[in-house]
């Protein structure tokens, strides 16, 4: 005979305000094998937990039912509590009276109370068949993989590496840095972006604990927390980095000089063999195979001829390597939205002087093509009237994204400030919907930009068209209730951040979910902001959603501390709620082997005694370290040989039966 204790939680008024908790408690006390039932205001709190502990002693309980919020919220809390008592942590059932009952049935209190009784009855029936489960130890491979070499990835890598653990960074581009070194100044302090970012890049490149793989991507992930087997594909660079000294002779001699330079947003050109930018890390060139004459037409070959160390290798191929990592940080970053396809009313990209924020960063950047002079891309003239348009693609669910991109208000103010600083007689108009500056010294920065003379006009721009050598911008000033027109020499569109291409595919390799906008979903939006639902996989930076540099760096540090925390243990506890094979029933058909998404099941030959006869045949075997307890195999198994521990067919049938008994 089991001895079950039922604890009904009011959750303040969340449950108690709708469900008659004392009635549920009294009802629970009448259920079979329930020896104690009580209700508490907050069962998750310290006093609430103490009551459970006391009741276990007083009533000699061996199974617990907590009727409270979703088990996703506090099941780990009760499990942790039970691990310090004589009750096995898996002899616990949580009846969800909040999300499944009080929150959705607030309009009918009587029915909600009846439903609560049913939920408790089901939980009691299920826990009656629970068996004790025990965790196992999983070894931890103390090496971290960071995906993305922007400021988020670099910060996380440095923090983990400084704690003494090995780190590998995988970066798709040919250099570390991401977007930050493209920027001119960073708000609100206006320190030079490259001056604070490139030293970090070089620190990462030179760190003895950090390996940097550029032009690389993750192609395959196997294994589990502490023991991820990850395949990394390094794309051909056509330059042997062991031999290359980065002298740059090849790039000066390359005859293919008319390739739009992505780093400068196409404002100037680069060569086929090129270094992404002057302070790139690694400070070595790569060959752009699509434009190299040797690789496309088997002509030229100048770079190989001039290279003093013989580092050029036209035969270079993509290479795949597989390594084991204990933890992963996803820091896949962002791109700016392709506004050209979405906003024909802004010229759809046809006007050379209607540019996005990153274009402007390259124009005003001292290392950009105009060496920091603000000039129009079309004719190189200094603009005397500039319009800045915010929320292009942001807060526009119809054409772009519904979310606020968070950083645009601030970099819009920065651009306004910079233009007035560089060209004091230039008129700057900023069209905005709201100004959102919730950061340290942020609003002061915005007010300063206004005080500099930026004319802020509250309204969206409806149209931009060319008239002579300037552009006419139509907008509204809803503050004065007037439609306004501005003749602008240049228009800067502060466009939305969108998830980097391939972010969702990369996340899916790790079983991590992304939302409708491809941002990675955190394990809990408030309490587990840098973890993902996959154990051992963390996130940092804009990959999770738009944010600015200070927030990104803070989040990267948080992700690193989670990894370091994990690496401070030699082993982790496994989840014991895994699939279990009844070999007597297993026919050895192998269906489960193919259906398992984690590759946790294999067929092994076993010597069995069946009907007093010795037989040797294949049966399924589950690797407890790999099994994640998803249950797919238990559904697929025709003879019903597979059962999920903690969710056995028997216990679930008991639950259903309990509900069906009137």
């Amino acid at each position: 005979m089991s001895r079950i204790g039922v604890f009904v939680c009011h959750c303040g008024s969340n449950i108690g305000g709708v469900v008659d908790c004392p009635a549920v408690r009294d009802y629970a006390a009448t259920l079979p094998n329930v020896v104690h039932a009580e209700d508490n205001k907050y069962t998750c709190s310290d006093p609430g937990q103490a009551k459970i502990r006391q009741a276990i002693e007083d009533y000699d309980l061996d199974r617990i039912v907590v009727a409270a919020c979703s088990p996703r919220m506090h099941e780990p809390t009760w499990r942790a509590l039970l691990s310090h008592t004589k009750v096995n942590p898996y002899m616990l059932e949580v009846a969800n009276l909040r999300e499944h009952d009080s929150w959705v049935h607030a309009d009918n209190k009587e029915a909600a109370t009846e439903k609560a009784k049913d939920l408790v009855k089901m939980a009691v029936a299920k826990v009656d068949h629970a068996i004790p489960l025990y965790t196992q130890q999983i070894p931890v491979n103390k090496k971290a993989l960071i995906i993305g070499g922007g400021i988020a990835g670099m910060q996380a890598a440095l923090d983990i590496a400084d704690a003494g653990y090995k780190v590998t960074i995988v970066e798709r581009k040919a250099t570390l840095g991401g977007k930050m070194p493209m920027l001119d100044k960073t708000f609100p302090t206006m320190d030079c972006s490259a001056c604070i970012c490139t030293p970090k890049m070089s620190e990462v490149g030179n760190h003895p604990n950090i390996t940097v793989k550029t032009l690389s991507e993750v192609t395959k992930v196997e294994g589990y927390v502490g023991n991820f087997e990850i395949t990394i594909k390094e794309h051909a660079k056509y330059v042997d980095y062991d031999k290359c000294t980065g002298c740059g002779l090849c790039t000066t001699k390359c005859p293919s000089k008319k390739i739009p330079n992505e780093w400068n947003q196409g404002l100037d050109n680069r060569t086929a063999i090129h270094k992404v930018f002057e302070q790139a890390v690694p400070s070595k060139p790569v060959i752009d195979a699509d434009h190299c004459l040797k690789l496309t037409r088997d002509k030229c070959g100048v770079c190989a001829k001039v290279c003093p160390t013989g580092a050029i290798n036209y035969e270079d191929v993509d290479r795949e390597t597989t390594e084991t990592f204990g933890a992963v940080v996803l820091a896949t970053g962002y791109e700016l939205i392709k506004w050209e396809d979405l906003y024909p009313e802004y010229g759809g990209g046809a006007y050379p002087d209607v540019i996005d924020g990153l274009h402007f960063e390259r124009i005003i950047n001292a290392s950009g093509p105009s060496e920091g002079r603000i000039v129009r891309p079309s004719d190189g003239k200094e603009p005397k009237s500039v319009v800045i348009v915010k929320c292009v693609g942001s807060r526009d669910p119809n054409k772009g994204k519904a979310y606020c991109s968070r950083a645009c208000c601030m970099y819009g103010a920065k651009h306004a400030h910079q233009i007035i600083e560089h060209i004091p007689d230039c008129k700057v108009y900023v069209f905005y919907m709201d100004v959102r500056t919730p950061g340290k010294n942020y609003d002061e920065f915005y007010m300063q930009a206004k005080n500099d003379g930026a004319c802020y006009l509250r309204g969206r721009v409806s149209k931009i068209y060319k008239e002579g050598d300037h552009y006419v911008v139509w907008g509204a000033d809803t503050i004065s209730g007037a439609k306004v027109e501005v003749n602008a020499d240049m228009v800067i569109l502060e466009t939305a951040m969108v998830a980097a291409p391939g972010a969702t595919e990369t996340a899916m390799l790790f079983g991590v979910q992304t939302d409708k906008d491809d941002w990675i979903i955190e394990a809990h939006p408030k309490l587990r902001p840098v973890e993902t639902a996959s154990r051992g996989v963390y996130l940092a930076g804009v990959a999770q959603g738009p944010k600015d540099i200070p927030d990104t760096v803070a989040q990267a540090g948080a992700a690193a501390s989670k990894v370091i925390g994990m690496f401070s243990h030699d082993s982790l506890e496994s989840n014991p709620q895994i699939s279990n094979v009844d070999i007597a029933k297993c026919s050895g058909c192998g269906t489960c082997v193919h259906i398992c998404p984690y590759g946790a099941i294999s067929l092994v030959e076993k010597h069995l005694r069946e009907n007093s006869v010795k037989v040797t045949r294949d049966v399924a075997q589950v690797n407890p370290a790999l099994c994640q307890g998803c249950g797919a195999c238990t559904v697929a198994c025709k003879p019903g040989a597979l059962d999920l521990l903690g969710y056995s067919d028997k216990s679930i049938m008991e639950e259903v039966d309990a509900l069906c008994q009137w």
């Binding site: 009237s385 008129k427 108009y429 007010m447 206004k450 005080n451 003379g453 004319c455 006009l457 509250r458 509204a476 000033d477 503050i479 004065s480 209730g481 007037a482 439609k483 306004v484 027109e485 501005v486 003749n487 602008a488």
Partner: protein, 188 residues
Amino acid sequence: MHTVNLSNVSPDARAACAEIARKADVNLRDCYQCGKCSAGCPMSEDMDLPPRQVIRKLQLGLLDEALSASSPWLCAQCQVCSVRCPQGIDITGIMREVRRASKAAGKRSLPESDVFEDLFLKKVKKKGRSNEQYLAASYNMSSGHLMQDMGSAPKMLSKGLVGVKAQSVRDIDAVRKIFEKCEEGRDA
């Protein structure tokens, strides 16, 4: 909704708006258009542009629209807006200076709005105080409302509330000095 081309706003108009603000000792860029001034203004219900809008017009350099508004003339100079402004802008001062500029430019929207003010000051300057009976009479003459409040005159005369004889302060020179000082400051 009418359209304003902000690029075509004349530099003179911008300069004039800036001058109004300078005289009121206000930085127009300080105003972030929260509307607290207008929400608390006891006169705003009767104004065509609430105080916030008057400042907005000045911010955008739309001088004519600011000068032809009724608001500065309806403003009671009660200071509620100035006291409550989170940016510490002297909106009352702006209203005062817009009123002056409006009068100078001949843009005042309410035809008699300055008649009483002018007469009052003229009388005070001359006698050191206002004599209600003459002020009322002059106002009726100047404004064209000849019979306004005439019905109450006999009763007030009989009760001695107003007299026939104009009174003057003893030291009229001191009053003149006050006026001179104020007029100096006005154009400073």
